[in-house]
């Protein structure tokens, strides 16, 4: 009498395990930056980067600042963008999206052979050597119109179990010829979440 009961309990347990395994959702593709993406309160997510780069680009285009450059299209040099958050991500994710839009649409060019932190040191050396050979050490070198720099900061706050983080993306375009700030923009992302005191 006891054995059938044990068997039915065992069957039920196996069935529940089967059901539990069967309920796991398979991996799927989601559109990058779409509302289905995972949102984390304590980290900069890809959708934050996408929104920030979009906001920055819109502002750059809206003001028409790039059209005021001496060179056509405007020549940019990318200076340092400091990640002053506690979230690990590559600031290049932000900058490359902006560069892609500006360069590919013909609104700006990015000089990668400029300054002490040139992105492409090899090309810079080649350029220098070529300019030197031609006796044109100064005029042969690129002469950018603007330098792009910035900082990404965070402000975290907690009230009870609710946590809030505001990430602020700040970019500044400096006119290299005049040394004057030509454009600046901040884009804020505020995220809120709750952490349980007790879990299971």
């Amino acid at each position: 009498m006891r054995f059938p009961a044990i068997r039915s309990v065992a069957s039920l347990a196996s069935l529940s395990i089967f059901v539990a395994v069967g309920c796991g959702s398979p991996a799927k593709y989601v559109e990058t930056g779409s509302p289905e993406s995972i949102v984390s309160v304590g980290d900069v997510d890809m959708q934050d980067i996408l929104k920030a780069s979009s906001g920055m680009l819109e502002s750059l285009i809206e003001t028409g600042i790039l059209k005021t450059a001496q060179a056509k299209p405007a020549q940019l040099v990318i200076d340092k963008v400091v990640n002053d958050t506690s979230s690990q991500f590559d600031v290049g994710e932000l900058l490359y999206r902006m560069r892609e839009q500006l360069v590919n649409s013909g609104q700006a060019t990015v000089i990668t052979t400029f300054g002490a932190n040139a992105e492409d040191k090899t090309a810079q050396e080649q350029l220098r050597a070529q300019a030197f050979r031609q006796g044109n050490a100064v005029d042969g070198m690129p002469s950018p119109d603007f330098s792009l720099s910035g900082k990404i900061t965070q402000v975290k706050r907690q009230a009870g179990n609710t946590q809030q983080t505001t990430y602020t993306f700040r970019l500044t375009l400096t006119n290299i010829r005049s040394g004057v700030e030509a454009w600046t923009k901040t884009v804020d992302m505020t995220k809120q979440g709750t952490k349980n005191s007790v879990g299971f």
């Binding site: 984390s40 400091v82 400029f114 005191s197």
Partner: protein, 500 residues
């Protein structure tokens, strides 16, 4: 039944392997055998990868010992693993779990997943940043120091509330049993007495670590001229002044920020002296007067904090400059890790004591009930059940002794004007030479000196802060006058001798 007896005889959650490994690591560190400490700790950490319960303790030990031994890459790896373990508790995972509470009652506190204490979490990120600083990876150092700040804020805003919640839950469980409250308060008093706590040190902890705040301030003020960074550095130094009232170097550095020198130009060297090892836990067994069946007492085990005294006190440096010739500077205590660990532990101690007594009494009551029920049908079986129960209780009575004992006992700061000679001669308090530290003249430097015991050889990590600061982009098409980097700056702060 035989299986039950066998199981009962085996130790449950006694952390025997962990305790043995920790002893070996600490002994090697104290003896100054840093490579041995690293080898033992890293091997144990690699083995513990799948041990969800204890692996964080191993990771932290491996990271710090590898750092002391100079294996930066290995140290980075283990700090990264440790951070991965603690990060979810910042904004995702709950600090307490219902299932775990049940398990700790049935077995003991050692079966909890180790999540690190707030001071440990802060130090994981701070130590991690030290590796980046030494490598000159300032972007990564900034990130790690910001993570440390996140954990500082978390400790400040949430820890006390969580301790209070856990205590309330343990108190409710206690009242449900109808036991006398004096049993718990008496046990708590005995544990505190065993520990040697001065009564004024009991109570809630103040957890933010002034070392972390100071390091971040020094890093920001030396490597960035940006207004926001300078003001963050100032805010950190003000926080240090609040945490360590009358801390003279903080006032000097605030004045330095207000003078607003360019990044990388201030000729100041900050020597952080990380002395000794943090406290560890010992087990203290105690009989609690709670009657269960025919027995009037239940046996319980509690952790008691043991402070290690083998550490060098303050250090000194003599100025080699003409300006300060003959002046000796002495380090001042910036962070008393002993006090921080003690305060944090003491905040949790009432909950630990209550939970441990509940666990011991529950196990004793279960044994009594099972043996009584079994004896009603067969007296021999009843006796065997009772023996198995007693053996299980004995085997599972163990205190949770996990902690990060490889942190320093205290951290001193010695702030000196960077000598033109490029060398700082450090001495023990009293004048005996300790070590010679190379620094980059005319610029800011950070130096970390680690000595796990008074007799261990000092380990020096030097961070020349000006070396890695990239020069601003130069306009080649329209050349400007290039400033001579060798020009001395008059903004050098005046160094004053500080009282020990």
């Amino acid at each position: 039944m035989c299986a039950l007896l066998l199981c009962a005889g085996a130790p449950f959650g006694c952390q025997q392997e962990l305790r043995r490994t920790t002893k070996q690591i600490d002994a090697a560190l104290i003896a100054g055998d840093y490579s041995k400490a690293e080898a033992v700790a890293c091997e144990a950490a690699a083995k513990a990868e799948k041990d969800e319960q204890d692996r964080l303790v191993y990771f932290m030990a491996a990271a710090r010992t590898a750092q002391i031994a100079g294996s930066w890459e290995r140290s980075d790896l283990w700090y990264r693993r440790a951070f991965d373990e603690i990060k979810p508790y910042l904004d995702e995972k709950a600090e307490a779990k219902v299932t775990e509470a049940v398990a700790t009652t049935v077995v003991n506190q050692t079966v909890r997943i180790y999540r690190a204490t707030p001071p440990e979490r802060i130090m994981v990120c701070t130590f991690d940043s030290m590796n980046d600083l030494e490598r000159g990876d300032f972007d990564s150092a900034r990130l790690k120091l910001n993570r440390a700040r996140d954990f500082q804020m978390d400790a400040k805003s949430r820890f006390q509330e969580e301790v209070a919640t856990q205590q309330a839950s343990a108190d409710a469980a206690w009242r449900k049993q109808g036991w006398s409250e004096s049993a718990a308060s008496g046990a708590l008093a005995q544990v505190r007495s065993r520990q040697g706590n001065p009564p004024e040190q009991n109570g809630m902890a103040v957890l933010p670590n002034p070392f972390t705040s100071y390091l971040r301030a020094v890093f920001l003020l030396s490597t960035s001229s940006e207004l926001g960074d300078r003001q963050n550095a100032r805010a950190d130094l003000r926080a240090v002044e609040e945490m360590v009232p009358g801390f003279a170097p903080a006032a000097l550095d605030i004045a330095l920020i207000d003078e607003d020198p360019a990044a990388g130009t201030m000729p100041v060297t900050w020597v952080f002296f990380l002395s000794g090892l943090a406290p560890f836990y010992d087990e203290f067994r105690l009989d609690i007067p709670i009657p269960v069946g025919p027995v009037n007492y239940v046996s319980a085990a509690f952790p008691v904090l043991k402070v290690r005294d083998d550490a060098l006190g303050a250090i000194e440096a003599a100025s080699a400059d003409a300006q300060g010739m003959g002046t000796t500077f002495q380090s001042v205590t910036l962070a008393d890790m002993d006090a921080m660990v003690r305060a944090e532990f003491d905040s949790r101690l009432p909950t630990i004591v209550t939970q441990e007594i509940i666990s011991s009494a529950t196990k004793a009551a279960a044994t009594y009930a099972a043996s009584t029920a079994a004896a009603q049908s067969d007296s021999t079986v009843g006796l065997l059940v009772q023996i198995a129960g007693i053996a299980y209780q004995a085997a599972s009575t163990a205190a949770d002794l996990r902690c990060w004992g490889e942190m320093p006992k205290r951290i001193d700061l010695l702030r000196v004007a960077t000598p033109e000679t490029g060398q700082i001669e450090l001495r023990r308090s009293g004048g005996a030479p300790l070590c010679s530290v190379p620094v980059q003249p005319k610029s800011p430097n950070i130096v970390f000196v680690t000595m796990p015991s008074a007799g261990a050889p000092p380990v020096v990590q030097h961070v020349p802060l000006a070396k890695f600061i990239p020069p601003p982009p130069q306009v080649i098409a329209a050349p400007r006058t290039i400033t001579n980097p060798e020009v001395s700056h008059e903004a050098a702060p005046e160094q004053t001798a500080q009282e020990p």
